[in-house]
Symmetry: C2
Subunit: 768 residues, 2 copies
Amino acid sequence: MNPNAVIGRPFPQLNAESKVKGNAAFCDDLWFPKMLYCRILRSPHAHARILEIDTSEAESLPGVKAVITAGDTPRIPFVHVGGPFQDKLPLQDSKVRYVGDEVAAVAALREDIAETALRLIRVKYEVLPAVFDPEEALGEDAPQVHDGKNNALIHIKRDFGNAERALEESDLVLEDVFETQAVSHCNLEPRCSVAMMDEQGVLKIWTSTQSPHYVRKEVSHVLGLPLTNVRVMEIHVGGGFGSRSKVCEDEAITAMLALKTGRPVKIAYSREEEFTATRIRMPFKIWIKQGVTNDGTLTARKMKVIADKGAYAHYGPAVLGYAAGVSCALYRVPNVKYDGYLVYTNKHFAGPFRGFGAPQVTFAIESQIDRLAENLGMDGMALRLKNANQPNETTTNGWRITSCGFSDCIRKAAETSGWAEKKKARAKGNSDQDTLRGIGMACGIHLCGAKIFADGDYSGAIVKVFEDGQVTLYKGNTDMGTWSNTTAAQIVAEEIGIDLDRVRVISMDTETTPTDSGSFASRVLFIHGNAAKKAAAKAKASLLKSAAAVLGETEKDLFIESGAIAVTGNPEKRITIGEAVKQSAEKVCDFISCEYHYDPPSEPLNFQTGYSNISAAYTFTTQVAEVEVDRSTGLVSVQQFVVAQDVGKAINPLAVEGQIEGAVAQGIGYALSEGYHYQDGFVLNANFTDYSMPGIQTLPKDGKLKVILVETDDPEGPFGAKGAGELTLNPTAAAVANAVYDATGIRCNTLPITPEQLAARLEEKAHK
Amino acid sequence: MNPNAVIGRPFPQLNAESKVKGNAAFCDDLWFPKMLYCRILRSPHAHARILEIDTSEAESLPGVKAVITAGDTPRIPFVHVGGPFQDKLPLQDSKVRYVGDEVAAVAALREDIAETALRLIRVKYEVLPAVFDPEEALGEDAPQVHDGKNNALIHIKRDFGNAERALEESDLVLEDVFETQAVSHCNLEPRCSVAMMDEQGVLKIWTSTQSPHYVRKEVSHVLGLPLTNVRVMEIHVGGGFGSRSKVCEDEAITAMLALKTGRPVKIAYSREEEFTATRIRMPFKIWIKQGVTNDGTLTARKMKVIADKGAYAHYGPAVLGYAAGVSCALYRVPNVKYDGYLVYTNKHFAGPFRGFGAPQVTFAIESQIDRLAENLGMDGMALRLKNANQPNETTTNGWRITSCGFSDCIRKAAETSGWAEKKKARAKGNSDQDTLRGIGMACGIHLCGAKIFADGDYSGAIVKVFEDGQVTLYKGNTDMGTWSNTTAAQIVAEEIGIDLDRVRVISMDTETTPTDSGSFASRVLFIHGNAAKKAAAKAKASLLKSAAAVLGETEKDLFIESGAIAVTGNPEKRITIGEAVKQSAEKVCDFISCEYHYDPPSEPLNFQTGYSNISAAYTFTTQVAEVEVDRSTGLVSVQQFVVAQDVGKAINPLAVEGQIEGAVAQGIGYALSEGYHYQDGFVLNANFTDYSMPGIQTLPKDGKLKVILVETDDPEGPFGAKGAGELTLNPTAAAVANAVYDATGIRCNTLPITPEQLAARLEEKAHK
């Protein structure tokens, strides 16, 4: 490695220190003069018609400054992605469709006054029968969540090759049903936003969002304002994982109250609201059939998915569309038939969540791959290697794979985990022990940004170089746990040839930073990274041009080193970067400014056929879980977890490893403990005590969470890099479930694999 | 007037509503997590050597997070303007030179803890003899405020023509001595700043400053940081009047504490500190001799000024230099000799204050002009008209006057005030009444920006036009009572041809707005206005180019109207501005961006000779005061005040009138009541109760404060406009003093004309 290289080095996250020390400001740290506090009145019914709302008593409570209902708003629904499903108003006007649905909102001098006012709002409801199960919801007499829509939101069909015939012709076909649960993103920062009308008629919004430019677009839309009359401001964001990749109701509601009152309005959700009234991961029921030849070649995959959308469409069609894509693309599988049904129910509604539908289908595919190997008498690793996607192949559904380290990932994960020896040892059986041990493998595929979304996948970057030699990158997306400010700064530093501490990043302010779709879809490093790299290249060219004029040399004879531009072969002859800016004919005031707008060479998703190359690069992972199962309690503990992942090029190994480790934790939670408990549409465990998010004690200890970065130098990625935010989570639950099977001989097809579930199955098995 | 014109119309100030309603956030409204509160330990001595500082006890007080003295800082003095006088450290290291000088600073969890900690800092002083009078300070044995400098900071000499000979040859010569007092800017918002190191090593500063770019420059300098490692942020500013046109100590001290503690640090000065430890208007003692011929032609002016600089140089040389300029330029006077001495004393130190030295010398010149007229038996108005500067003349000291409505101002002020009739009535005498009435006139000259300052007089503007047709102007100076955001937005709207509500302004943020010297020197409308106009013109050209391509027309056949670009003669054929942006080849992401950097066609001040055209335009005012004097108490009340002022073109009449009215109020305070009272270097009246700033009850009532805008269409000003912030104040005290003389026959040459002073003089006169 070049000793001066900025990329590839494990720099700490730019804002780590301020976050660790508690200095970083989040939305709830904001306060403005005359700020009001908002609380939202939510539906207590899973399904009811709103007959009448009387806010008069609430309005007359001292300290209450405004009470709004749908009648006070333009009644424009949010524009959600993936089709014509604009079914969600910021405040409901005719019906409520889940327990938690927004009915009214209060702005008051204090939060407790607002809370009291909520109790004074009289809503007359006509309670309607509700439906909670998506299969029931598809029945003829089922209650209609949205009148006249039969609850069938969308049917996504994929049909490549001839799956039926291929299955008939296969040597082995297996058929299974899997179910995945609703889970929460468990953001450590509950939703919070502050809206304030400034003196110029611009509605400023500070919000914990992943996509400031989407929030601007949606809030201006629902308020009927010109786009740039809304300005989303820079603020730290305490987690997202997809839940904040589009607008949330609170952003529109505080905006409406700010307009009505002329005062700043803040809302900070309670933990209970964060659990019950924000987005969740969509539960899937998956029927899957796969066929193989005797040598282990995958011949066909047939799937049916019923996805429980909850009360509103939101990103649902896109999530289900991407799940279909992964189902067609994971492993070389020439014949795929896929039917996905998105179904309304009277429950809180799903949105994007790290993996975007992939973890659900990957759990099914990879659990069954394990069964196929076992039934063929083949090693699971060998079967996966045989069918692994290869570089420069196009998948059945048109994904044009370029860089691809899939086979390497399988080999390295196996090697590091001791796969071969452990499988051999396990073959001798461990059925007499109290603690059962098992090992399981699973793989995943993912994208780097995607054109699944209505308005594409793009990013602008502006790079300014100032007269003091400092550089600022302006980026429109959010910096979260994905370290995007840090890695984007590394890319700029590397491209120009300066130290990292010379680069600063301004992100997220829709007025001063260029448009960008947002921080989701594993896109920022790849899409914005390219924009930043190319803007930096323009800045470098401008600096060299200026320096060449000053030094009387030609650009090609110059190089940048240690903050200066020097002559090759005569490096004493040099000027500082700051001086080159000062002397530049392209200078604006005291800086030069270069911008680039990157639009990747990918194709929009064809929603009808599903055939298109939606991303400019794809990533691959292989994971090996080793578990211990307590035979008496059914408690599974993950002893070792190995991830080998194709990251293209690790711009910052620390950043990639951190995201991979975090995703393993989230995946283990998905596999073993997390999930909502409901009764009549009410969430019973809307708090961290009852919800069972894994803590540090649940994860492999003593360095047993092992990450191997497989670098493949992607041709389109900036410096060869690819995205890494989501992929890891996709197969984690399958790896754990496969290890549980290896330990116990029990296939758990329903997530999470709780001690209750497993203990009962172990008991049942012991008595057979 | 074009009915669609945006300029020339009395739009309300863009942020008036939020300020009036109390929604606008000022520095003291800011709070950040872990923020510390700073208090400053100030010298209790007017002059003392610091022998030892023991901070240990203060440091160990619970809640104290840092205590700093000069030893904790890089000991780099501020770079002040006007010569090599870098004599002020943020914290003093060896000596203190006035009561209030900064010695140490504490950052603590609460302000009261910081205050307690101050009392625990032990400073051993060697008290030194102090000097408070500038004439004494020039004596041979006077205490040395700065060791080895003899207190004589600078001697400014001007010598044009031959004043001595011209005086000898004059028909009438008068000689007088005048004294002006130290006054406070009386900002309603006391100084406040917050400094915070962000996660990227950028020191963010929110501060009540007039010049964010100067603050950035000075703070980075005293901390030894690269320029752009300091970022001054946008915030409302509650008054300035010159006092905040450069860095203040608190900005550097909070920055140092933020660096040391790693936490945000706020300081909010008490009202007492605002009065005693921030800048003041420099007191002048002025010896003046002017000569005239019998027909009233001014022949010569000879002046000596001793200016009491207080303990540190600050802008003093520039203020005295500009006072010299005005002394050479007010009226056509061919022979001028001027000697100005800037003298250190052990008092709080002066800085810029609205008028920048002009009010002091104008008081002397205009009081004596009145005497000259009387002694010639000539009407004061006639004498002034005879000598008034004329368009396209160059003054004795090289000021090239272009637009000039001076004579018109004299005529209109006289006409509106009823000058002729009232002077005639007064000639009959009113000496028998209890209430004496009088009328007085005075005139002033001023500049529009100036190259008095070391780094010139420039402004950048960036105009962005977005795809929704909205426009943002980025400007680097501060919006205060000068309405600069409003008038700059009007200029942009007018230039492009859109409504004012389509234009927004982002100002003051040194990272996102282009460099600009700051909001002072009556420069913003003129200097920044030109930058904004030219950037807007580029944006308009870009829009027309795009529209021409889309419509298949040529640019010259297009015009902009109602947010659209239409074809002349076929206005149905049109596209919206937003669409022109979308289709533009020059688009960056979702906007087009155009910038302009304006540097006026003026010359740097020649400090040696004083001969240079320091401004690209000059402004003129004539004022007529009508007073009543209570014969028994000496109380003067201003019954009517007329201002006729050459403003070039009033971009916003409301904005200009507001500034003129404010300046009259401040000028009346200067004339009649304001001033510091000292004892041994201590200020005795550091509060609004004892200081006597005029309130609304002191000003002319019932519409008797009359403003006449004389429009002269300046050739270089944006749309013909000139600056208006300071000029009005220059002659106000003289107009009042001349009216007092007219009423009483008593010449008050010492400001303020308090009831005590005047009652004693009336008493004395009655007994003569």
